[in-house]
């Protein structure tokens, strides 16, 4: 029986963020489906894993964690000797990687997730897109991508020479955005585009997409 259980939904960006890590680290795990359409994530059983009622949650033995980026950091350190190295052991390199992990969380994700919601998810739910929100967040994302373009012109990955959590954390929103008009913002940034092509071709990420298409 797997010691690790991931409670989540394969359509949820945050769940995909954790699944990508679990596949990269090649960890035995059980995926426990949370039926968000039935509101399962807001019910008492799931709230005991995450009092904010959001997927995903992780169980490792008697340890219960939530927040995808915290879960990923825990896995990357706890299982450092398995699968892909997603952090640096060298403290200086890890410090720089931590900067770009925060950039994803603080600068990239707020704009990217709002755009994904408006342009990719709302149409699936029969809701109408708020074009003012789209315009505002496309402008914000474009500025962030300008900085990424400069960074990736001097560094193969955001944290340095190696693929790490700093890159991985972008995958789920990139997946949704590339199916929308937002792709054009990336097309005008050659280094960013090359980086996206590289990280979205990783076998572990393709496994996450395969799981998603099974649901």
């Amino acid at each position: 029986m797997a010691a690790i259980k991931v409670h989540g939904n394969p359509l949820s960006t945050a769940s995909m963020r954790v699944l990508a890590t679990v596949y990269e680290k090649e960890i035995d795990h059980e995926f426990v489906f949370v039926d968000m359409r039935a509101g399962e994530h807001k019910k008492e059983h799931f709230l005991s894993f995450n009092p904010f009622g959001q997927v995903p949650a992780l169980e490792d033995g008697d340890l219960k964690l939530f927040e995808s980026r915290a879960i990923n950091k825990y896995i990357a350190y706890e299982y450092a000797d398995k699968g892909t190295q997603l952090i640096y052991q060298d403290s200086r390199k890890m410090a720089i990687t931590s900067v770009w992990i925060e950039v994803e969380a603080q600068k990239y994700d707020p704009a990217a997730s709002k755009l994904g919601w408006e342009l990719a998810i709302k149409p699936l739910l029969g809701m109408s897109t708020d074009t003012a929100v789209v315009e505002e967040n496309e402008a914000k994302l474009a500025k962030v991508l300008d900085v990424y373009e400069s960074r990736l012109a001097q560094s193969k990955y955001l944290g340095g020479d190696c693929f790490t959590l700093a890159d991985l954390h972008h995958l789920p929103t990139l997946h949704y955005l590339f199916g929308t008009q937002v792709k054009k913002l990336f097309d005008s940034c050659p280094h960013v585009s090359a980086w996206v092509a590289d990280i979205t071709a990783r076998p572990a990420w393709l496994k996450v997409l395969a799981l998603q298409s099974q649901q």
Partner: protein
């Protein structure tokens, strides 16, 4: 050689790092950045932080930005001195600290920072406060604090019965929030109130709080 922190003593993100440096008892130099004349958006500073924001930490030839990455670096580098902020000797507790650091970053900050910006910072820059933004975020913040109230009725601090970086990260914005007309969101929740009174009375915060004013006289 001492650490150099580029920032301002009233800036929320700079004070997040200042609090951490004081908790660890680390020597540092605070180098002011003239944001009011746009120094942070000019090329010399942009080479330190391409997003043009304070703070920036220099440790020899290592340059870091994003306050939460800086505090994580300081807490890790000086883990054997001062207050234990990350519980590096206990993997389970360390994981719980990471969880509640993300809660601050993802759930708390996104609700509280627009309120502080609209009510305090914006008006200093000549902007009229957008009450609709404030109201929407007060509602969000209330829901987040409901979860904090439950958690803090079980554990003394957010990650457990120990003070950590997760609690520290809340200090700057909460300090300014408590000067707004909506401090009751904290004061009406007894466990959150007790937690805030405990956290804000720490010596590390006493060292920085005196400079935490925008001079608006409120």
């Amino acid at each position: 050689m001492a650490l150099k922190l580029y920032g301002l003593p009233m800036s929320t993100c700079t004070t997040r790092v200042l609090a951490c440096l004081h908790e660890k008892g680390v020597d540092f130099e605070l180098v002011p950045v003239d944001v009011f004349s746009g120094e942070h958006k000019q090329p010399p500073f942009l080479s330190k932080n391409p997003f043009g924001q304070i703070p920036v930490l220099e440790d020899g030839d290592l340059t870091l930005f994003e306050s939460r990455a800086i505090t994580a670096y300081v807490a890790e580098k000086f883990k054997e001195t001062g207050t234990d902020l990350i519980k590096h000797n206990n993997p389970k507790e360390a994981a719980l600290v990471k969880v509640w650091m993300e809660v601050e970053s993802q759930n708390f900050n996104s609700a509280i920072s627009p309120i502080v910006f609209e009510h305090i910072v914006g008006p200093i820059m000549g902007k009229t406060a957008d009450q609709a933004v404030i109201d929407a975020n007060l509602e969000k913040l209330g829901k987040v604090l409901d979860v904090y109230e439950s958690k803090l009725s079980i554990t003394k601090y957010l990650a457990g019965d120990f003070y950590s970086l997760a609690d520290l990260h809340h200090f700057p914005y909460t300090h300014y929030f408590m000067t707004t007309p909506w401090a009751s969101l904290v004061n009406d929740r007894p466990h959150v109130k007790a937690w805030w009174e405990d956290v804000s009375s720490r010596p590390a915060f006493k060292k920085i709080v005196g400079a935490m004013t925008f001079g608006e006289g409120k």
